[in-house]
Symmetry: C2
Subunit: 236 residues, 2 copies
């Protein structure tokens, strides 16, 4: 599928160079304006139904200028998808390397931050995970980052006290379920943006520990330590 159909430069467009004048969506830098416009159009009208021309128009750019930032529609989708997992993977790596806190507290912190990321933006980008187009090789980087993020979940889960009593195959299923619970907020999210995102993030993090078999008193301590840990990592 060509994503450049209809991409012939308009008269006087300067191919490969950003447009110097003219409005850019919401006062964003041009690249971010393209991403914001595409996020809105992909989630509102569908990926297949959105043209690069429509994205450029919504972003207030000439189509030729947009190609200065992105090779095509797939490239824009890949950037949006990676943006939904990269910050959580960065946090997960910092948490895995932060063994002074309990595994329960670190798992709680990862869950809360990940839900906040998935539900906090103006559009439900997680809805794009299930596009058949995303199975293509072009999106391998997204799948790799998402798989690494899931591995971090599994690693933290396996380090909890409750995991010691759980057979390996069952632990693998629990890791699937914890990751599914967190990503499942994509299916819960009701509005763009969702004003209940912070409460949902805390409830989901608590829920992930319950799902892991963590007893209530340990959970309460982990939630307090996890929230403090997030504050520390953000200040650092």
């Amino acid at each position: 599928m060509s994503t450049t159909a209809g991409a012939a430069p308009a008269p006087r467009a300067r191919v490969g160079r950003p447009r110097a004048q003219g409005p850019v969506a919401d006062g964003l830098a041009p690249r971010d304006g393209v991403l914001a416009a595409a996020a809105e159009l992909f989630t509102r009208h569908g990926y297949g139904a959105t043209t690069t021309r429509a994205i450029a128009e919504r972003a207030g750019l000439r189509q030729a200028s947009m190609y200065h930032y992105f090779a095509g529609k797939e490239d824009i989708l890949a950037a949006l998808l990676e943006g939904t997992v990269r910050p959580s993977l960065d946090l997960a790596r910092a948490l895995v390397a932060h063994p002074s806190a309990t595994a329960e507290a670190r798992l709680w912190a990862l869950c809360r931050a990940d839900v906040a990321l998935l539900c906090g933006g103006p559009h439900n980008l997680g809805a794009l995970y299930l596009l058949p187009e995303v199975a293509a090789e072009r999106f391998a980087a997204f799948h790799r980052v998402r798989a690494e993020l899931k591995s971090s979940y599994r690693e933290l889960l396996a380090a909890t006290d409750a995991a010691a009593a759980v057979p390996a195959a069952e632990l693998e299923l629990r890791a699937d379920l914890v990751f599914g619970l967190i990503e499942g907020v994509i299916l819960i999210r009701r509005q763009d943006p969702d004003p209940s995102a912070p409460a949902l993030a805390v409830a989901a993090a608590d829920g992930a520990l319950r799902l892991s078999g963590t007893p209530e008193p340990v959970l309460a301590a982990a939630a307090a330590q996890g929230a403090a840990l997030l504050d520390t990592l953000r200040a650092g």
Copy 2:
């Protein structure tokens, strides 16, 4: 958006009547063949990219014959979506009206059966839930059935022993999360069909009770009772 574009009858097609002869996908009745073909094409190539012509071809029907069964592409999508929630709602109603079992056992049974339904078919139809097109009024029946199903989850959850100690707002969030955990298997499912679906269904049902705050000994009893209850309801 017109879904009948290109629907002009082929020569000798008898509009509005099913084709009596010729192959139907996988030996299914024509209507089921159309649904099976559409399920494959929507999940493999995308809803927007699939034409009614392609569905008819895959189902081994003339396009005009397909219109005997479905008014258009939206109508086919609506039937597929309703098929992912209607059997679970029927079961949920039977379970809600079956107070001889504990709420924990009934919730467990609903979760296991719902995951089996969502993961058991040859295609991941749940992936279609997040299509922007599904927000349209045409899909109100699907949204109503899904909302009723979610209410049944909430009702069973609220009747568990663990719920008695949970404030109403928190219980609402937990119902969201339990429902999200179950539907979240859409995001976990790896293959079409997924051979691990039965194990995942049991793990998800156990997980839903843990998420609800049900202690392990109660959970073990509820799982045994819930499995027996499913056998009884199926035999009845």
